[in-house]
Symmetry: C2
Subunit: 105 residues, 2 copies
């Protein structure tokens, strides 16, 4: 099914919503290219593409805060990924559990 993702149309990257298993809390949003998606499926460890460093990014490689993939879904038009994970430690580099801690409304 992942071959239905048109990476080229999206500049090589698709957004990935990362949700915690059980609580359904949203932890972060990241991006995958085709290679990081395949690595994630093969290893069951969330692997993204870092837009700032322009390289593959195994989440947790330096922090120890790995994300263990429990489920993966694609949306109706195959241009967004939803990853349901078990989070080691916290998701955000600031030390917060979730990256979404700035409340607007």
């Amino acid at each position: 099914m992942i071959d239905k993702i048109d990476f080229a149309k999206q500049g090589g990257l698709v957004p990935v919503i990362v949700q915690e298993e059980g609580s359904n809390e949203i932890l972060m949003l990241a991006y995958m290219n085709e290679e990081s998606l395949q690595k994630t499926i093969d290893t069951k460890l969330a692997t993204y593409y870092s837009r700032s460093r322009n390289e593959l990014w195994l989440k947790g490689e330096t922090s120890g805060h790995y994300q263990h993939v429990v489920h993966m879904y694609l949306d109706c038009d195959y241009d967004t990924i939803l990853l349901v994970v078990k989070q080691d430690g916290v998701a955000c580099h600031t030390g917060e559990k979730s990256c979404f801690f700035h409340k607007v409304l």
Copy 2:
């Protein structure tokens, strides 16, 4: 706080994760430009920017499936929006409640 979003850096659009209040189910991912974000805050009805039609998109305007904004968050680096909503009807144009119904893993 929304003035911290660097729309220009992101090609004018930021991704918006849409989550159902209560269940925490993820309904869809869409995009906002600065104008649609302001409309959403002013009206409390989710308004996006349609990348396919290149125009503002008041969700529910044709289907009746409006999304009433309950909360809005920004992530740690101010480049993703999380919208918590009460969904009228269903979120997906296919008739599914959530757009994420293609199971990969």
